[in-house]
């Protein structure tokens, strides 16, 4: 079993497993250049948002369940991990093991040494961005002493998620239904769990779904409990471009509440805007609301940007208009371009002057010289 151990063998403190998983196809073309956990969300690799919050809650070992490109992740994350003093372990699947299989694979790391073999651990889906309530989850878990705690959140359209029906007083889960066709509840699985090692006995080392094959059984035994995200908080699965942008809006709004000094307040900026100190903004621009400009980004004069993420080293030339889109690393958007409709430009894409790009994905290193008025994939 290929397991890489990072930064010594500290096994005290809590543990967490992050289900990093596969190719991140929903976030292509960005994930063609970088593994999804390294894609910067609000100028920080997506994974680091979770790792930092885990460390904050007292986690000292994070196991990353990965199935590809472990090496690139290691190279980029080891420095960050050292800075945080966290032990990163890469647990690589040879074949996709679903959402539960990786726990069986990493069993030895999760159970740990003898003196604390009953110590519960965190499990997270890697696409989740929220104000992580890890401390509350752990405290709740220890109080009810069941096998698992699921964090749930309220959503408007529950049918595309795993819906949780639970007793509002005790939190005991009565039913766990993955993607129900009829309305049963508006509380859904938020993709964050605290699990006791005991639950590992239910998980075989083969492709297994934690939502469909493990949780229903735990719930039937009365050993699964739910805790709701605190009201007023935010939660988003940012695994696809539209949700990535929605999540960014929520996150910047959250920053406004918690750390407003991190937001940019220069000239020509409206609302919540995050600008890396090395980014440059020209004259006569209107940036925001809800924009993230990465390191070394250049925005020329007379540009209008709202609800966008512009990644490292990209350039937006003068008089262009960008809304609800993601511009990949080192890309260049020409003059008088209109970019909208959740368009995603991969790495090093060049969009010619005066073009209209409405949605769709542009694969890395493309040179676009005619308008794309309807969403398509540009190979």
């Amino acid at each position: 079993m290929p397991v890489v151990n990072e930064g010594g063998n500290k096994t005290s403190g809590m543990k967490a497993l992050i289900l990093v998983g596969g190719y991140g196809t929903r976030l292509r073309p960005l994930t063609l250049s970088r593994p999804k956990p390294l894609v910067e969300f609000a100028n920080k690799p997506m994974l680091m948002h979770q790792v930092e919050a885990l460390v904050e809650a007292g986690v000292t070992t994070v196991i990353l369940a990965v199935s590809y490109r472990a090496q690139q992740m290691e190279e980029e994350l080891s420095k960050e991990a050292k800075k945080l003093g966290v032990n990163l372990i890469y647990s690589c699947e040879r074949e996709p093991l679903g959402t539960a299989g990786p726990l069986a694979l990493a069993k030895e790391h999760l159970v740990g040494s003898n003196e604390n073999e009953d110590e519960p651990f965190f499990v997270l889906n890697s696409d989740i961005i929220c104000d992580f309530p890890f401390k509350e989850m752990m405290a709740f878990h220890k109080k009810h002493a069941g096998e698992g705690t699921i964090c749930v959140t309220k959503v408007e359209e529950p049918s595309k998620y795993g819906v949780v029906v639970y007793d509002s007083d005790t939190g005991r889960v009565r039913e766990f239904i993955e993607k129900p066709r009829e309305f049963v509840s508006n509380r859904i699985n938020a993709g964050m769990y605290v699990l006791s090692p005991k639950i590992l006995n239910r998980i075989p080392l083969r492709p297994t779904s934690i939502e469909k094959e493990v949780f229903p059984g735990v719930a039937a035994d009365g050993a699964l409990f739910a805790i709701e995200l605190p009201p007023g908080g935010f939660w988003m699965d940012v695994g696809q471009p539209k949700d990535f942008l929605t999540g960014m809006c929520m996150y910047l709004g959250h920053l406004r509440q918690k750390e407003p000094s991190k937001l940019y307040s220069g000239a020509g900026v409206i609302g919540n805007v995050l600008v890396h100190p090395s980014a440059k903004i020209g004259e006569d621009c209107r940036i925001g609301p809800n924009v993230t400009l990465g390191p070394e980004v250049v925005v020329e004069n007379g540009v209008r940007i709202s609800r966008c993420t512009i990644l490292r080293g990209a350039r937006v030339r003068s008089h262009s208009w960008l809304e609800g889109s993601i511009v990949g690393w080192g890309s260049s958007v020409g003059q008088w371009v209109r970019l909208e409709g959740a368009a995603v430009l991969g790495e090093d894409v060049i969009v010619g002057d005066e073009l209209y790009i409405n949605g769709g994905q542009v694969l890395p290193h493309k040179n676009i010289s005619s308008s794309v008025p309807e969403p398509t994939i540009i190979m």
Binding site: V303, H319, W336, R338, Y356
Partner: protein, 439 residues
């Protein structure tokens, strides 16, 4: 002495030119900064000894009086508007006002359709027609009879076989250029040579029209009306006059390779604008804005651009190629305009982009907006291809992508896109539109 008659039609005509013809008569729609028929007037004024230009149509005189006054002053020539009491057909109107045209006994007179655009070769047509008239007079036949004197020479150009069927088709004698056969909009291919709607006529043509008129009157009174034609006086130039003249030895073609196009749909305005600007480059470079790289005081100009002296263009704007900016129009900072016409008082705000569009008089476009149409130019890879005057809707009932048109006083808000759409006058848009007609 020569005269010219420009046939300008009336308010019921030019409906395919809507919404641009809703507030301005189509003959006065500015192309390359000049009212459409001013290009005709200018071509006529370049013909030596042409003394009078008659505008013939059935618009209310009030719609044209100011234009006539301005033209008279500008070109120092006698220009008159003769108003038909009703649509008399293209030849019927000429016949109705025959005395006005004949007065002063002109040697010949031109007839120009108002809805064509061209590099009109009028002087060449004149020389060709004149030579033929003289040859016919001097050249008495051996048996003592004379060749018939030519009555009309028709400007003709070549079209693709497919497109020729949308026009009047001419079969000519390859050597003498005599019109052997004429048919209007045939359903099968007849000849690639098409009628450009520009003629030079001898006064004798009125006798031919008179006999057609008499025959129509007779039919009307004897058989109680005629089929299809509106009224007993209506005579169509093409069907009623040219068709019978073909094969009589009195009608000739003058083929040209000069640029020529009809201006039927609003979409063709952009194409006509481009070609008239190109003609300016050759003939009247003073009407084009000097090309510039753009500095602190002058905007960057690419290719052929006409800017009215009263228009304001910000030095950071970039214009061209093929842009006409009308009277009092305002182009804001960082604006980009290409292949478009801005009519009087149109206003485009900061950082906006205008492509293949016509912005009606007094229309306004907010900041960071994109107003874009789709060109419908003739296929450049097909020799002799003409402008396709495509219908508004295709066979699936969907709007054909065309240039974008803002009617007069339309407002487009900031940060929206208006793509391949037609907006009727006085509409205040509040959002983006694509491929729509906005009533």
């Amino acid at each position: 002495m020569l005269k010219a008659v420009i046939l300008i039609g009336g308010p019921q005509k030019g409906t395919r030119f809507r919404p641009l013809s809703l507030d301005i008569p189509k003959p006065l729609f500015p192309v390359a900064g000049l009212p459409l028929i001013q290009h005709h007037i200018e071509a006529c004024c370049s013909v030596p000894n042409l003394k009078e230009i008659i505008l013939l149509g059935y618009f209310p005189a009030s719609k044209l009086s100011q234009f006539v006054t301005e033209m008279t002053q500008e070109y120092k020539i006698n220009i008159r508007y003769l108003q038909e009491y009703t649509s008399l057909g293209t030849a019927g109107g000429l016949f109705h006002f025959r005395d006005q045209i004949r007065s002063g006994n002109p040697e010949l007179f031109f007839v120009l359709n108002g809805d064509v655009c061209a590099d009109f070769p009028l002087t060449e047509m004149l020389e060709s027609h004149r030579a033929r008239v003289q040859a016919a007079q001097s050249n008495e036949q051996a048996d003592g009879s004379t060749r018939p004197s030519p009555l009309i020479t028709i400007l003709a150009t070549e079209a693709t076989p497919q497109q020729s069927m949308n026009y009047g088709c001419i079969v000519e004698d390859r050597e003498t250029f005599e019109v052997k056969h004429y048919v209007e909009k045939p359903s099968t291919f007849v000849s690639p040579l098409i009628n450009c709607g520009v003629y030079i006529c001898s006064l004798g043509i009125f006798q031919t029209i008179a006999s057609i008129f008499d025959k129509k009157q007779e039919e009307y009174y004897n058989y109680g009306g005629n089929e299809g034609n509106n009224g007993k006086e209506s005579i169509r130039f093409e069907q009623d006059l040219l068709m019978p003249l073909a094969g009589t030895g009195k009608a000739f073609a003058f083929p040209t390779t000069n640029w020529w196009s009809q201006l039927k749909t609003a979409g063709s305005a952009i194409y006509a604008n481009r070609h008239y600007l190109e003609l300016f480059r050759k003939k009247r470079p003073d009407r084009l804005h000097p090309t510039g790289r753009g500095d602190a005081n002058t905007p960057r100009i690419i290719g052929d651009v006409h800017v009215h002296p009263t228009a304001t263009v910000h030095p950071t704007a970039v214009l061209g190629p093929n842009v006409s900016i009308g009277k009092g129009a305002v182009v804001g900072p960082g604006v980009r305009i290409r292949e478009s016409i801005l009519l009087a008082g149109a206003h485009v705000s900061d950082h906006s982009l205008v492509l293949y569009s016509v912005l009606g008089s007094g229309s306004t476009v907010g900041a960071w907006a994109r107003v874009e149409g789709t060109p419908c130019d003739p296929n450049p890879d097909k020799p002799f291809a003409k402008m396709e005057n495509a219908p508004l809707f295709n066979s699936d009932g969907r709007l054909n992508p065309s240039i974008t048109i803002l009617g007069c006083s339309v407002t487009v808000p900031s940060e929206v896109i208006l793509l391949n759409s037609i907006v009727l006058p006085y509409k205040e848009l509040t959002r983006s539109f694509k491929n729509e007609i906005i009533l």
